[in-house]
Amino acid sequence: MTLIAQFNEMILEQVEYRELLYQMTLRDLLLRYKQTVMGFGWAIFMPLVNTAIFSVIFTRVARIETPVPYPLFAFCGFLFWNFFASSLRFSVLSLTSNSNLVTKVYFPREIFPFSAVLVCLVDLAVGSILLAGLMFYYGIAISPALFFLPVVLAVLLAFTAGLALLLAMSNLYYRDIKYLFEVGITVWMFSTSVVYPVESVGGRLGQLLALNPMTQLIEACRSVMLYGRLPAAGPFTAAAVVSILVLFAGWQIFHRAEFAFAENV
C-alpha cells in the first residue's frame, strides 16, 4: 500500500515538473538540430542504412522468409529497436553528462532519463514517416489493428523507461556500465526479431530467445502496422506485465537512490 502511495507521489512530482521535462527534451532536440547538419535526418538515415545492409545479406546472400517484403520487415524492426536502444544509450550517460546540474540544482532526477526517452520518441515519429512511405511503396494497406498501436507503444515506452532509469543510475555508481551496455545491446539486438524472425531459431536456444520481451514488443509493432492483426494475446500480455513491473521497480529503486546522486557523481 505504501508502495502504491509512493508511486502516486512520484507521478505527481513528474506532473509538477512537466514543464522542465518539456524544456529538457526541447534542449536536446534543439542541440541536435544545431550541432548537426542533418538534424532530424539522422532519425531516418540510420535505420535506412542498417536496413540496406541487412537487405543485401538476407535477400541476396542468405535468403530468409518474412511475412512482408524484407526491407519493410527490417526497417520496421530497426525503427522500433533504435528507439529502444538509443533511449537507453542516451540514458546511460544522462546523469553523468549533466553532473553540474545534478550537483547544483534540485529537481527530480528522473527528468534526465525520461527526457532521453522522449527525444528518441520524436526520432521514432520522424522515422515512421519513411515507414509509411515504404508501406505505400510495397502496397501494405492500413488495417483497423493500427488502433491498437498506442497500447503497444505505451508498453514499449514503459519497458524502455524502466530500463533507462536503472541504467542511468547504475552508470553513476559504476562507470563500467556504459561499456557493458554497448556489448549487451548488440547481443540483445541479435536475440530480438529485428533483422530476422527469432522463431526461426529452433531448439533450446529458440525457447530461451522466446522469453525476450523485446521480441514480443517488436513483433507486436509489426503485427499492428504491417500484418494488420492484433498481437498474440498471451505473449503480448506477458511482455506488458514484465514491462510494467520493470518500470515500477526501476522507478522505485531510482527514486530511493536519487537523494545520494549529488554525492556520487
Partner: protein, 420 residues
C-alpha cells in the same frame, strides 16, 4: 503563529574523505565483504574515511528574517545550503523549506553553451521551477535586468563570463520565491550590477521573504541580515546579531583560516575586548553621522608593559581605508599598562557617511615595533544618516553666495557718468 519557513533541526551530514572508486572491480570485493556478514557501519558511526561535514546544526528562519551564515572556508556553509535546497539529504535530523525555494547558488548551472540566451532563459527558468508562461511574461524584464540586450539571440558560448553570470542571476532574481537561499553570488558582475542585486535582495527582504545568505562579504551580512550564525567545522559556534557574529568570527583564531590573529605567541599584554559606545555610553553597532563614538579597548597585561601604543583603524566595508590613529603619533603616553584596564578613544563627531565600517584594534610595542595583539577588522558598525552626501567623509561646511552684480552696476554707472 505559523511555523517558520526554514527549519533546520539537528541536522548531521556525513561525507567521505579520499577517493571513491567507480568501477565494478571495487564492487566485487565490497559486496563479498558485505555478504560475509561484515555489516555496513550504522548511520551514526564514522568509518575512518568519513567525517561530519555538518554536525548537529539547528536553526530556524521565519518570515521577514534574513539569516547570514559566516565561517571560514570548508566550515560547512555551502553544505548547509545544499541541504536546504534538497540537493543533499541529511544523514540524520530534518531540514525543511516551505514553499518555492529560490536558490542563488549556481545561477547559470543549467545553461548550455550552444543554446541562445533566449533558449537558455526558458531552460534555466524551468530548472528553477518557473512555468513557461511565467517566464514569457517576465522575459523582457529579465533581459533588461541582465543587460545583455541585443545578444539575447546569440549562443551563450559567445558571452563573456560576466554576461553569463548576469543572465543567470537575472533569471533567479525574477523567480518570486517563498524563500531565498544565496551563496556568495554578489561577487559576479560590475559594481552597478552588484548594486542592482543588493537592491533586489532588499526588495525581497522588505516583502518579508525569509532569506538565508552565505557570504564572506561581512559588511553585506551586516547590512542585509537581521541575524547571523557563525559556522566552523560543521557546528554552529555563535547565533545572534550580525554585528556580534562578525566580532565572534573575526576574533577566534580559526584553525582553517589563515590567521587573522597575527599577534606574537606569548605577549605580555593582550586585548581582552573592545566596545563601541555611543553618546550615552551604551554598547552599539549603529551610529549617526556626526554622532559620538567611543572606542573602549580593554586589555589584560599579566606583566607590566611600558612604552606600548594603541592603534585604531577604520575601514569601510568595501576595503577603503578611512582613518588610522595611533596613540604614539598623537603623543599620548599610555604610561604603564598593568593588570586589567581600558583605554578610551573618544571621537566626538564621527564624520563618516552612511555605510558599514570595520574597526581594527592593535597594541604595539614602541621599542622594537612589534605587535603585541591585533584584532583585525573585528568590530563592525554601521552609520545611519539622512545626509545625501557622496564619498566617505562628512565635511563640516557652509555655503555662501555673494553676487558681484551691484559692483558691476556701479562700475557701469561710473563708466556711463564719465561718458556724460
Amino acid at each position: 503563529m505559523s511555523r517558520p519557513a526554514v527549519v533546520f533541526d539537528g541536522v548531521w551530514k556525513k561525507f567521505r574523505r579520499g577517493e571513491r572508486h567507480d568501477s565494478l572491480r571495487d564492487l566485487i570485493p565490497a559486496a563479498t565483504a558485505r555478504l560475509l556478514g561484515r555489516s555496513r557501519p550504522s548511520r551514526d558511526d564514522l568509518t575512518e574515511k568519513e567525517f561530519w561535514a555538518v554536525h548537529d546544526v539547528s536553526f530556524e528562519v521565519g518570515a521577514g528574517e534574513a539569516l547570514g551564515i559566516i565561517g571560514p572556508n570548508g566550515a560547512g556553509k555551502s553544505t548547509i545550503l545544499k541541504l536546504l535546497c534538497r540537493i543533499l539529504r541529511p544523514t540524520r535530523g530534518a531540514c525543511e523549506v516551505r514553499g518555492r525555494a529560490g536558490a542563488l547558488i549556481e545561477v547559470a548551472a543549467g545553461f548550455h553553451p550552444d543554446l541562445t540566451g533566449r533558449e537558455n532563459v526558458f531552460l534555466q527558468g524551468a530548472i528553477m521551477g518557473m512555468k513557461r508562461a511565467e517566464i514569457a511574461r517576465k522575459f523582457d524584464e529579465i533581459v533588461q535586468f541582465a543587460g545583455v540586450g541585443e545578444f539575447i539571440d546569440t549562443p551563450v558560448k559567445r558571452y563573456s563570463s560576466g554576461m553569463n553570470a548576469r543572465l543567470g542571476f537575472a533569471i533567479a532574481a525574477h523567480l518570486d520565491p517563498d524563500v531565498l537561499l544565496i551563496d556568495e553570488v554578489l561577487s559576479v558582475g560590475d559594481a552597478a550590477f552588484q548594486d542592482r542585486c543588493v537592491a533586489r535582495m532588499r526588495e525581497l527582504i522588505a516583502r518579508g521573504i525569509p532569506i538565508v545568505f552565505i557570504s564572506h562579504n561581512l559588511p553585506a551580512i551586516l547590512e542585509l541580515c537581521s541575524r547571523a550564525i557563525v559556522v566552523d567545522h560543521g557546528t554552529v559556534k555563535f547565533d545572534g546579531s550580525p554585528a556580534a557574529a562578525i566580532q565572534e568570527y573575526q576574533l577566534v583564531p580559526w584553525t582553517t583560516a589563515a590567521g587573522t590573529n597575527t599577534a606574537v605567541s606569548v605577549a605580555p599584554i593582550r586585548i581582552a575586548r573592545t566596545e563601541l559606545l555611543n553618546h550615552r555610553d551604551e554598547s552599539s553597532a549603529v551610529f549617526q553621522t556626526g554622532g559620538a563614538l567611543r572606542v573602549r579597548v580593554k586589555y589584560e597585561a599579566p606583566e607590566p608593559v611600558r612604552s606600548a601604543s594603541i592603534t585604531i583603524d577604520i575601514h569601510r566595508g568595501d576595503g577603503v581605508y578611512c582613518a588610522g590613529v595611533n596613540s604614539l603619533m598623537d603623543k599620548y603616553d599610555l604610561g604603564i599598562l598593568s593588570g586589567t584596564g581600558h583605554v578610551d578613544l573618544m571621537i566626538p563627531r564621527l564624520n563618516l557617511l552612511p555605510g558599514c565600517y570595520l574597526i581594527s584594534v592593535g597594541i604595539l610595542d614602541n621599542t622594537v615595533g612589534r605587535t603585541y595583539d591585533l584584532h583585525n577588522r573585528a568590530y563592525p558598525f554601521s552609520i545611519m544618516s539622512d545626509r545625501r552626501d557622496l564619498g566617505v567623509i562628512y565635511l563640516e561646511r557652509e555655503w555662501t553666495h555673494q553676487t558681484h552684480a551691484a559692483a558691476a552696476t556701479r562700475r557701469n554707472l561710473v563708466a556711463a557718468g564719465k561718458d556724460e
